[in-house]
């Protein structure tokens, strides 16, 4: 997964980056399976790898022009970016090394066969409001994307 991530941010060709991202997303789904979350793994494969990445590949093909491959691929402010990311990394290292005691150590046994049922019950029960808002958000996103990409409004 980390190799995929590194390839995403370093490839010159956008299609190679997209393929590396697909590999990363599939590896992520495998890690979800290791974490006993099969439903989230399935959703990740269907939505992320099978939906969002198709969208990305479409746009790359419609937009990408050959001369972008011959230009410089890194920003004007790449040094500042690396320094900021380094600072963030330092923050992570500090927090994780100092706070090791509060992270739980033993994993509780989980009945895997019930995972989908429990997630479904919770989605439609406790998180019903968030569910409806998410559907409204998707509606707004659809309208927004259509309006943005139209030639004449």
């Amino acid at each position: 997964m980390l190799i995929g991530g590194v390839l995403v941010i370093t490839r010159k060709n956008a299609v190679h980056s997209a393929l590396a991202l697909i590999v990363t997303l599939l590896a992520q789904a495998a890690i979800y399976l290791m974490l006993y979350a099969p439903f989230v793994a399935g959703v990740q494969i269907i939505l992320y790898a099978g939906g969002i990445m198709v969208l990305f590949l479409f746009v790359i093909m419609l937009v990408s022009i050959e001369r972008t491959e011959k230009e410089r691929q890194f920003n004007k402010q790449w040094l500042v970016g690396i320094v900021a990311a380094g600072a963030l990394g330092g923050l992570f290292i500090t927090v994780y090394s100092k706070g090791q005691s509060i992270f739980p150590d033993r994993a509780l046994p989980i009945a895997e066969a019930q995972n989908t049922q429990v997630v479904g019950t919770m989605l439609y029960g406790q998180y019903m409001f968030a569910f409806e808002i998410a559907s409204l958000l998707l509606l707004v996103a659809i309208i927004g994307a259509v309006v943005m990409a139209k030639k004449r409004i």
Binding site: V8, A14, A37, Q73, L108, A145
Partner: protein, 102 residues
Amino acid sequence: MLHITTLHYLVLGAALFLLGVIGVLTRRNVVIVLMSIELILNAVNLNLVAFSRFWGGVHGQVFAIFVITDAAAEAAVGLGILIAFFRNKETINIDEVNLLKW
């Protein structure tokens, strides 16, 4: 055999997050910036699901599903904006997005 604790997953999530942040801050190609944002969201999801596993209960997984949905919506809108921008400027260089610069 190494005993896998929460910390391992959190460190993996943090590494992905850092990679995504570096991608957002240093690349010129707008599409790759958007893909790095997806990496960041994935790192967050990994943290959520890892905690949901180690503390019991599926709240983390439900929230991860919502984050995936949000990521889909945001990718769609972001790519729409990208297409509109490309139609005007004929470039996908993020340094050229400087219409508000004085």
